[in-house]
């Protein structure tokens, strides 16, 4: 296990402990899983690929619609929300949150975690 991977796992564990977050994952922009706390029964590979597709398409839509920089994608459903955002050039952060979650709190925690992931990967590249 590499130091980079251990630090990413620590970051995602910490994010998953935020009360309104069910589970979270760090995935690569090409759709591979790095680390996650997704529950049994959820295929992390599928979540990673779909998250990469959602963010990629959302970024392209943002550009095509001349809406400036893409910030995050939020998918709302009956039983929860899926939030995904960039974490540097290489990775994405995704979280599954409860339907009645305090989004402000969750987004704050996610943005902090995304910066940590970016920093860990940047340090690891050096």
């Amino acid at each position: 296990m590499t130091d980079v991977w251990a630090r990413l796992e620590e970051t995602i564990d910490e994010l998953s402990r935020v009360s309104d977050i069910k589970s979270a994952a760090v995935v690569r922009r090409d759709g591979l899983v790095v680390t996650h706390t997704l529950p049994d029964g959820v295929d992390p590979k599928m979540v990673a690929a779909m998250t990469a597709a959602i963010v990629g398409t959302s970024e392209m839509a943002t550009i095509q619609l001349a809406q400036g920089r893409f910030v995050r994608a939020i998918i709302e459903s009956d039983e929860g929300k899926l939030l995904s955002l960039g974490a540097g050039d290489e990775a994405l952060l995704v979280a599954l949150v409860y339907d009645d979650a305090n989004l402000g709190l969750v987004l704050l925690a996610m943005e902090r975690a995304a910066k940590q992931v970016e920093s860990i990967l940047r340090d690891g590249a050096g």
Partner: protein
């Protein structure tokens, strides 16, 4: 079937070029190409290339895979060479690469060159060695140079 070898190459160019542009317009060409390679390799590595035995050494695995591609008649790989070790592989790919024409078109049009051979090698290593490798196109030219190295977060 295309009636000539040139016709077959043009058909390949047509689909590769079109699919790359479509994937880019939808937002994520690397995801698309990696998924295509993963699905294709999972099928063909296990069914149509049963003789292919990968070493745990990444360089040897790349050589064995490339040899099986050639022996299987997919395309000639005699101008592909590998150096490196179990963690890092440097590949040089010459003019015989079937994707070169599309890569050249994209390069000339100032689009990013997504090396399909590199995607294939990285996916093969992931499937056969159960290890993630990142790749980088160090140089697009004659020959192309790519480097595959074990991901630092694996």
């Amino acid at each position: 079937m295309p009636t000539t070898k040139e016709g077959l190459q043009r058909l390949l160019d047509f689909f590769i070029y079109g699919m790359l542009r479509a994937a880019e317009s939808l937002g994520n060409a690397p995801l698309f190409l990696r998924s295509v390679e993963e699905e294709g390799l999972r099928k063909f590595l296990l069914i149509d290339m049963p003789k292919f035995k990968a070493s745990a050494n990444a360089k040897e695995a790349c050589e064995a895979y490339t040899k099986s591609i050639d022996e299987g008649g997919l395309f000639s790989t005699t101008d592909t060479t590998f150096t490196g070790d179990e963690d890092t592989v440097h590949a040089e790919i010459g003019d015989l690469c079937p994707y070169r024409r599309v890569c050249t078109m994209r390069h000339d049009e100032r689009h990013p060159v997504h090396c399909i051979r590199a995607f294939a090698l990285a996916e093969m290593l992931r499937i056969r060695l159960d290890a993630d490798f990142d790749w980088k196109l160090e140089r697009f030219g004659r020959p192309c140079r790519i480097t595959l190295s074990r991901t630092r977060w694996g």
